[in-house]
């Protein structure tokens, strides 16, 4: 399956290579560089490239390309999903998945890659298992290791590998037993220029941070599970319980993980928490245009909308922008033509607005289309779909855990066409 992996940074240096079968020369990456050049934009590099003898499947994560070399037919999603899992693991181990972090920990990276794949087929990808095999680097541990001579590498097979709950490691012990759940919902929407919703849906995830000793068996129930239209589960969830009772029943992995992700049925109306009034116009045959946007709260269920950021990709002919915000601050990058307006909170008394002039390249025709506005916001303590966790029960262990649920609503791909 996966033959080799090359990690390539933004400037095109191959800074790490790993082969699981016989060695493939770095020169195979030339095909990738070729495609990259053709694509102009990193986002547009095709994930699957065919070369005379190999196939290259790549992902782009955190300014790095993970390029894998494939020799025979394989489901491309298999490889893509695996590469993302590798990147996730790096993130998990080093706190970030960057070139520097990988270079600093090259030995651990190598050990990880060795464990994750055998002959190109995934062997251990569960973070709980990997952490038993290879301990994540911490300052304390490296000091201890250098004194005692013990190593970061486990010498017994992680129990998870053999059990039918491979995601949980054995012998977990905490003095404070805690289970936290974050219900995070994102609103994906396209709003047309008249302010009406073209498309809107809610995508949610429940991220869990479980620090419970022993082998707890949790069940999480919702007040209104019918809201969840389409759900994908962490493997730990017992599907049958969900099917029959709409209860999430599971033995959790230790630590942070994504319990479920869901989509709220599209029949439900999506409350759009903000509205935008906009007036962007470019004058014919003159080198300036007007730019005026105002943002106001709408249907926000009594919660404040905060962390609002508006990002606009201005047309190429825009040279500069002279704007005055009534609130927050704005930046315009004349190279990438990206306008970012960081607003913060909305107070309904005084709606934030951003007004001013746009300088256009003289002589160039006025832009065809007004740019669309991408909006980010956050609402704390609210799940916009109305999803509510009813209760969390724990079986199998005696202690009383501390439980907490946090709700947050965010803008996902929230776009206003102008």
């Amino acid at each position: 399956m996966i033959h080799s992996l090359f990690l390539i940074n933004c400037s095109g240096d191959i800074f790490l290579e790993k082969h699981w079968k016989s060695v493939v020369s770095q020169s195979v990456c030339d095909y990738f560089f070729e495609a990259q050049e053709k694509a102009a934009d990193v986002e547009n590099v095709p994930p699957v490239i065919s070369t005379p003898h190999h196939y290259l499947i790549s992902i782009y994560r955190d300014k790095l390309f993970f390029v894998s070399v494939i020799q025979t037919e394989v489901p491309p999603l298999f490889v893509i999903e695996f590469l993302h899992r590798v990147a996730d693991t790096f993130q998990d181990y080093f706190g970030e998945c960057s070139e520097a972090a990988i270079k600093d920990n090259v030995v651990i990276v190598y050990e990880l890659l060795e464990e994750m794949l055998d002959n190109g087929f995934p062997l251990a990808t569960e973070s709980n298992i990997l952490k038993e095999l290879i301990k994540p680097p911490t300052i304390l541990r490296s000091v201890v290791n250098s004194i005692t001579g013990s190593s970061n590498v486990g010498d017994t097979l992680p129990t998870g590998q053999l059990s039918n709950i491979p995601w949980r490691r054995a012998g977990v012990k905490y003095t404070n037993n805690e289970a936290y759940f974050d219900v995070i919902e994102e609103i994906d929407a396209i709003i047309d220029k008249s302010g009406s919703t073209v498309f809107a849906e809610i995508q949610g995830v429940i991220d869990a941070c479980i620090k419970l000793s022993g082998m707890p068996d949790l069940s999480l129930s919702f007040m209104n599970p019918r809201l969840l239209d389409d759900v994908s589960f962490h493997p730990c969830i017992r599907f049958k319980r969900w099917e029959s009772e709409r209860v999430l029943s599971f033995i959790p992995p230790d630590g942070n993980f994504r319990l479920i992700s869901y989509r709220v049925s599209s029949q439900n109306l999506v409350a759009i928490p903000v509205y935008v009034k906009h007036n962007i116009s470019f004058k014919e045959n003159s080198s300036c245009g007007r730019f005026d946007i105002t943002i106001g709260p709408k249907q926000n269920m009594g919660k404040t909308v905060e962390g609002i950021t508006v990002t606009v990709h201005m047309p190429k002919v825009v040279l500069n922008m002279n704007l005055t915000p009534t609130q927050g601050s704005y930046t315009f990058d004349p190279v990438t033509k990206v306008l970012t307006w960081d607003i913060g909170k909305i107070t309904p008394q005084k709606l934030p607005s951003l007004k001013g002039l746009v300088n256009l390249q003289s002589g160039a025709p006025k832009p065809e289309e007004n740019p669309s506005l991408n909006i980010q916001f956050k609402i704390q303590q609210l799940a916009i779909s109305g999803l509510k966790v009813n209760r969390l029960d724990m079986y199998g262990e005696k202690y009383k855990p501390f439980k907490g649920v946090k709700y947050i609503t965010k803008a996902g791909k929230f776009q206003v066409r102008t």
Partner: protein
Amino acid sequence: MEEEFSFLDHFSAVSSTVKSVLGLAESLQVTLKSEPTVEEKGLIDAVIEPLEYTFIIRNEDLKQMLESNKDSAKLDAMKRIVGMIAKGKNASELFPAVVKNVASKNIEIKKLVYVYLVRYAEEQQDLALLSISTFQRALKDPNQLIRASALRVLSSIRVPIIVPIMMLAIKEASADLSPYVRKNAAHAIQKLYSLDPEQKEMLIEVIEKLLKDKSTLVAGSVVMAFEEVCPDRIDLIHRNYRKLCNLLVDVEEWGQVVIIHMLTRYARTQFVSPWKEDDNLEENSEKNFYESDEEQKDKTDKSKVPYAMDPDHRLLIRNTKPLLQSRNAAVVMAVAQLYWHLSPKSEAGIISKSLVRLLRSNREVQYIVLQNIATMSIQRKGMFEPFLKSFYVRSTDPTMIKTLKLEILTNLANEANISTLLREFQTYVKSQDKQFAAATIQAIGRCATNISEVTDTCLNGLVCLLSNRDEIVVAESVVVIKKLLQMQPAQHGEIIKHMAKLLDSITVPVARASILWLLGENCERVPKIAPDVLRKMAKSFTSEDDLVKLQILNLGAKLYLTNSKQTKLLTQYILNLGKYDQNYDIRDRTRFIRQLIVPNEKSGALSKYAKKIFLAQKPAPLLESPFKERDHFQLGTLSHTLNIKASGYLELSNWPEVAPDPSVRNVEVIESVKEWTSISGKAKKVKADEKFYSESEEDASDSNSDSESESESESEDEEKEEGSSEESDEYSSDESDSESDLDNKNQVAKHKSAVTEESDSDADEKTNAKLKSSDSSDSDSSSIEESSSESESDTESEYESRKPSKKEEKKTWPERQPNKKDVSLLDLDDFNPVSTPVAVLTPAISPALIADLEGLNLSASSPVINVSTPVFVPMKTHELLHRMSGKGLAASYHFPRQPCIFGDQMVSVQVTLNNTTDQKIENIHLSDKKLPSGMRMHVFSPIESLEPGGSITVAMGIDFCDSTQTACFQLCTKDDCFSVNIQPPVGELLLPVAMSEKDFRREQGMLTGMNETSAIIIASPQNSTPPVILQKIVNVANLGIVPSGQDNIHRFAAKTVHSGSLMLVTVELKEGSTAQLIINTEKTVIGSILLRELKPVLSQG
């Protein structure tokens, strides 16, 4: 320094290229390679350590460290070496020093040495042999991790001499007690096979053995090995088929993908096509795709030769379904393709929701998933139509995603949604991403050809685009218009003229060529313009692009034939120019045309037909999706993505005409064989159509219990290999049991035995694991019963939820149709003289469009609630006053269910008064109303007198404030006062409302959460027919019936009399005579009372 650095990098890259080209020129390689690395090394080290060493000294240093007897020094050295390997630097000369440490006690050093060995053993085969004995020893280590990793390394060092040793090791490992080691053995099989394909036969034996393994850990890896070594040996799968299906859910995710792909291939060779029955369904899939599939099947089954799905086929389809919920995109895609290739077409619908979910993932996943959806959406539009909006493009999407989405939108376009789509396309056309804008124009063209109703609209819109400022857009429009005009050439003279004018401004060659071709083709329709264009072109001929030149020649030829008087000279001039053109194609064409059209003595018989040749009716081009030809590749594969057959691609065979013998899948024990054949025999013969589902139901539960018992036994497996025969006994006996009846006791007993076995098994290293597994499987198996019975009904509900949306589409369609003419692309903004990007609809949008837009808008205002006439007025009367207590005056009341004439918020009540005495009762009136606060009452006017034996009916109105509180008052006659009270049944506090299903669902959507109450009830058998249910419900409550698309869902709507809040009642009949009753209302109290009232009505006969 950096510059130098990058230069060196470049240099080493070059050197490696040279290496690959020259290959054998070793001396050269050395000189090229070592030199830069020395300096390079120095440079890097300079960063790490200030002290400068030369490379040789450094290597010596590393060697010394490796030879020291301190582990920490060795570890340091190994870490640095691994760093070198990671960078792709050559560290092969350290081999002797490193290989000595292979037996190190320190596990980390050992591992790093392994890494090194695997990388360089192939290059230094002789030295690598030194390490072999260490691995052989390690293969016998009591620690399974060490055994496994020794096997891994041993099989990874590609040294042909040790093939026999590897073979031996694999054989031994495949019988290892630890499933982890066996898993590694499965991996080793592939490695050995790639090293020495001659071992195939022996390896197949090992594969065969490992395929029988019951551990979920091994399953994925061994199937992978099977796929790589002997994918054609389908016969090895037969006996393991059911086991694999049942284990599937518990296999790790990567294994799932591989197994699902393999089983897809397997199923295509073993089962007959489930699609035959669907053939007629396919034709009108538009209409009844979401119709209840069971019914559909029943119908078709009756009309045709009955088709019964092989229970094994069903098993696979059913057992993969839960995996659609996997977090791993590859698994979801694998299941999706399985459903696509294997399931009856009516069942494949469930995958669309999951695939659409994947679109939230990162761009690479999106790319692959969209490609697959694109292929699917060509063949079965209906699947993705409900998700149309999920494919709307965002300006931030990468171009490749945008174009794929556009492709899907185009595939999904039909008469019903085209107006919405075209409006969406308008936005795209103006996109700053010109490549995408051009693709949109192509898409509009395709919609125009596919949907004849909008051809004109699209054409107009495209013509408007011709005056766009952007050349790419204009050019693309020209090309598309050309294709469209070719399809209906008449009556478009105006457009052709317009395009002829464009020739002056437009420079894109394709567009110019298209215009010229169009003019030539229609030269008789524009007799004045065409020659003039030719004149202009003649002038610029030499500077044109080749493509344009060819079309100029064509135009000249055509004009020469139709209008030789005006154009003879011009054409000849052009032909002369062409004769000496640099491009041979053009010279060729010139010669050809001249021979054909210019009559001379040499020209043969052909020139007579010149006109026919040049001006023949040309078939219109078919605008097709580029994904059309991809469907012959299995979905989700690399080959499908690239649209090239990738090496190692395994063709998906066509369904066999006649199914091969299904008994090959039976597991040994003879009894069970009988069982199975009898099942399949039965299914095929008589009761195929009715019994089918119930039967699959049964084996659903038994397969579940199978898998459960297996996953339990798995953990014992490790110690109890020999016990496997016993287990298979259990397996088969269980099968036969549950076939006859689902015996709970048996399961419980079995379960117990499993547990005890577990505790018996010696607690070697994994007591902990065992505890875990036993307890997890415990709780699992406890829920088997309900869950399996539930699962079927769940599919049901999933279909239901989809079906109505389909219905909606249909319903709105006829409304839209008349408006279609109004929908045009004409309101593109650049056509408004002044662009007014204000937050109001531009007036150019026709009213119809606004209506459309409103339909589009999700937050549209709530529908008007129309009170309708009651469906049914029960004649039941309630006693108000008994004649005994009323001294001969009897009073009764009933609810006529009419809107009250006395007040909007009142419930009308009819009171009938009877005089049972033998004398007149005078002055009957009401008084002393003791009403709870807020309640009002409109009394009837006093009755002067009531004759003996007479009776009178009067109307009154009571405002109950939407509560079931009692209205107490006194009914008085001239002489007496009687306290009476009216307590309204909750069903009478409502007024029926007429609304469409769509409105109903929208309203229901807003009334969820707190506002929803529901209950599951056991409906009595006589209540299963729709008319009975309707009757029963409207009898109890004054509800309006909402037309419903499905037979098993009944919807009722009403509003409360006082506050006018909606009261939505849904009765959903499920399998097994259960029914779900859902009430959505703001008035939760009333809602729950109503629920309570309705429950007995449905459950009692």
